[in-house]
Symmetry: D2
Subunit: 349 residues, 4 copies
């Protein structure tokens, strides 16, 4: 089969690999659609260290090709979505309720990290009974694929933000995860959603996904603006969806005492991420900082896919580009360089 | 009446002041016992800005001297304890469930901050119906006075730490608040409590209040030691009870993914408090950072006083020194310079 | 002033009463709009015992007429909404976080229960700083009045129901509170909302407020139908919005293990309300039964009014009838007898 | 091997059975110690229907005899404890966070229900990686065996009871589960624990495990007594640890508004369990009724075993009788008839 791999830091290629074999609890899925994620670029640049011929990708859907001997409840040929995070569900961290930290910090993230990813004609799914999710008939693959990471991560950002019913939330950065955080905040009863973003196309999408107000940081200090917009109180909750220290600090600054900062951005640089001391109430003003990593598991995926089935959520306006898998290298390059106003490129197999 | 005041930054004195008058919802309490808090020293050094002839102190008990016209449920002459934090309970932040942030960040802290404190022969209590707590007959003043701040703050540290039943917690620094955090962790079902402390007398008190193991940071990196003691997993929860950046960073480092860092230390220096990025899982390993300020209110005080009444908690081993109010300046100096192994000095009126 | 009172069990009248006087923490509001609630009928029929010349009503808005000497932050002439529940916020139950149980079970409910209600030209508001909520300019009185009880109670029903994001919920009975529970469930991220109702007009309104599916109990056992609609799993959450034992039992039956039954109906009859033992997992299947009473307080009211201000919620399709206050007796009779397809009658002053 | 079985309703016997075989994810444990549970008696009397030659028992510890091909992290010969509840951890209910309801209501309860139990020389453990817990060297089998059900269930009762720090809780019935609920309440910071019990030996054990006060229902209405003891407020939380309707109703009656009733008793009789309507605040006084079934899983077991390792908990005073497995029928009869003041009989293999 063909697989899109990271050959070493800074180099990608399409190579031939054998179709993977399932262990007793595993499944093999034949890929039908996938999305490229910015974190693939991070990986290729060396964010998590070097890798050799490791298949990239973690946002893919497909059909069941083979099932392990102990797997029940699924059948070959069934359409399935697989979350970017595939926990074992039996280790200590999983049993504690933190499956995204399966066995170790961030250990639920296995695709393109500790095993081959899903940007290949076939991919391997561990603990298949918990990690395969049936796709409803009414949901096409190109929609379902958004449940794998973008919806799950963005909605988690909103769930962690503890937004009071009718409360206010600021989402910092309206990239794909931030846009889904905007959508999630709206789904969860936010009264006012502020999207902090300066790119017009992303601002427009933010409005489409439910932002009540755009705060354009190119036009002035976004914290000052958020305080103005909230009668100097600050927002109930802030979501960091970029992964930058300055943005994180602005989240702490813009949040009122007792509020929650929900971090979902991948902080890829520096030894430290700083908290502004006074805005943090010298460590005593009841602000809470939450973090998390894309929650996986069939049960959640089924709930996410339901929003696609009923039409209440439609993330496909984020699909700015489409490529066949044969052009994966060109697609990756476009995404890597953020050319042509790209937000999410869809890959068809 | 005599009052112990901050005349200006760096200068304290005993001065004469009129006995305060109650508004309709207030009470005036005649002081019988008080404790000096390290934060009084911070205040005098200018941590919250300059003050002129502001009475110090926020850990006092006494008897009701006068009651406002609208106050019901109390009587003159009744023994009462008053928490360091005296919220209004009717502003937005109070109604949101964050009374320690009454009207603004840290705004529940009124004594010796925005009004005269309680280190005087009489002191004023706003919203008396909610902020006066009857002291049970069996509890002497010198015990009850520990409920005002030390027990409430230390126990909050443990409550915020979300320690699983039988789980592990590291308390960083065994000063008075840290010691009460150790006690609180034990009360709340911790399986293993580690106290990080190097002063022998405080180590001994930590054991007395329930620490299972002392981690002496003078003998080696406490994070490394905590990892050894937890089979490289880290602790479920960490409590910062010092107010130092290094200690805070060690809390993040020592906590396992999915765990909670409960900050209760007053961070008095620097523009920022840094989070170590990798130990924080690049912002994605489900670690939560909570903060808070001494919870007040009669209802909580009654629950704290019950522990003193039944003898389940006895904080008086922390009372290393006793002074009459006439010697308050000497007492303050001893505490300010942390001389003579002082932990908490009790002032009798 | 004119007041609409319960003279004794079974008898109502319009009488003259003096305009009430404010104590130091109180306000007097001149009424501009009000709604009649079914619970007024219950009261008149004797559900909470006899009352003599007690003013009825608890869903009113108006303008500030007078303010007590200790009230700050409001001004005479200001448009305000007042929740049906007006807690003191300083008693034990309020401090514990249960203001609707102020001083005693259901004790936050003061209007038309332990003091004169709000169906009069003027009404008295205790603890005014916490219980008056400014109405935004863009929100007319006839919308704002829905925040006093219908929205607050209905949304609480959904908040207590602990609906997972994308999960399913069944709302039993689409009266005004049930309709607002449907709206609340939708606001809080329900994936599928089932409304159990047989009256066509109410079914239609349920759809308008967000119900995905109507379960008509006149056409068959609603529990059986809900199980069919959920592949025999049952719903994640069920809301009892009627106050009938059979409906409550159906909530327990229709909810899956681990789910939540949120009771908001007023159970007015019988000595007991029965739980079906086997459907309750013989007391062991992790089903939770929550209850509650309309949450009040300015801070919540402000959040509710925001939904009206932004237009995200519009409850006025429930206003089936309008009367001037001069015709309050006719209005009450129509509501009492549930004539003419009445849902909520609006009273203008 | 020898196994103690239910031959049919009302009849037990020791029979020969083959040693079970492990599937890829399973383990076989050679039993060393076990406890008999009252629920075994319920089962034999037909509470869950008829069974034929099904091995009884669900509280056993032993050593690993064989491991399935996919099981990692354990070794043959290792001492292990296995919880009464052995979920799969990959079904919907497990992924939702309710593993005791694995696949269906109460479905985590597999031993002596849907497969052979653990009162045999060897027993089978499904999903072994999650369900085997290593026993610390310092903990003898006869202590460890209490973690399997009594500690896990009793402590859950206290965890579900949401007892405020320093709050009050009434535990109804001081059988083995009730006694561990008393211990759990004390571990979790209860200020006052009331044990409702009339048998002197159980009263004495309740005191030993932490009860502050005994309420003897043989000497008068326990609800009336609890109200007297709490200044007519009622308790913050009540735990039903018997499984009787009258006791459950008393829990509702004795709990203050806003409080929690934690049901852990197995309600084995009648079609309904009744809630007293007025004490339940006509369905509106913020009382919450929780239920649950013994939480399992290695991670929790490790935390429970830690309490035994450090000596903070010692449940062995409940071991009133000891028998070799050869005398299991006599032991079962004694327990079944509650003869000789029996509380828990230990079976040695």
């Amino acid at each position: 089969m063909k697989a899109f791999v990271m050959q070493q830091i800074g180099r990608v290629a399409v190579v031939d690999k054998p179709i993977p074999e399932p262990g007793p609890n595993d499944a093999i899925v034949r890929t039908t659609a996938a999305l490229i994620c910015t974190s693939d670029s991070h990986t290729v640049r060396g964010a998590i260290g070097d890798r050799h011929n490791l298949t990239l990708g973690h946002e893919s859907v497909g059909v069941v090709h083979r099932l392990g001997s102990a797997v029940e409840g699924f059948r070959v040929g069934q359409r399935v979505a697989v979350n970017a995070i595939t926990p074992c569900y039996v280790c200590d961290n999983c049993l504690r309720g933190f499956p995204s930290q399966c066995t170790q910090s961030l250990g639920g993230w296995k695709f393109a990290n500790i095993k081959d990813g899903a940007m290949a004609e076939y991919f391997h799914v561990n603990q298949a009974m918990a990690n395969l999710a049936p796709i409803p008939d009414a949901v096409p693959d190109e929609k379902a694929v958004y449940a794998c990471d973008m919806m799950s991560t963005g909605f988690m950002a909103a769930e962690h933000a503890a937004i009071p019913l009718g409360g206010s939330v600021a989402v910092f950065a309206a990239g794909p995860v931030g846009l889904m955080a905007v959508q999630g905040a709206k789904l969860l009863g936010a009264g006012t959603v502020f999207a902090v973003e300066n790119v017009p196309r992303r601002q427009e999408l933010a409005r489409r996904f439910g932002a009540d107000e755009i705060v354009d940081f190119a036009k002035g200090d976004p914290v000052k603006r958020l305080l103005e917009l909230t009668q100097d109180e600050g927002v109930d909750s802030a979501i960091e969806a970029l992964g930058a220290e300055e943005t994180f600090m602005n989240c702490v600054r813009a949040t009122r005492p007792g509020g929650t900062i929900s971090n979902v951005g991948y902080h890829g640089e520096g030894e430290f991420v700083r908290i502004p001391r006074l805005d943090w109430g010298v460590g005593m003003n009841d602000k809470t900082i939450r973090t998390g990593l894309c929650p996986g598991g069939r049960e959640r995926m089924v709930r996410l896919l339901r929003f696609l089935e009923t039409g209440r959520v439609d993330p496909t306006p984020m699909t700015t580009h489409r490529f066949p898998f044969a052009e994966i290298e060109r697609a990756f390059g476009t995404m890597d360089r953020k050319e042509d106003g790209i937000i999410k490129p869809l890959i068809r197999f």
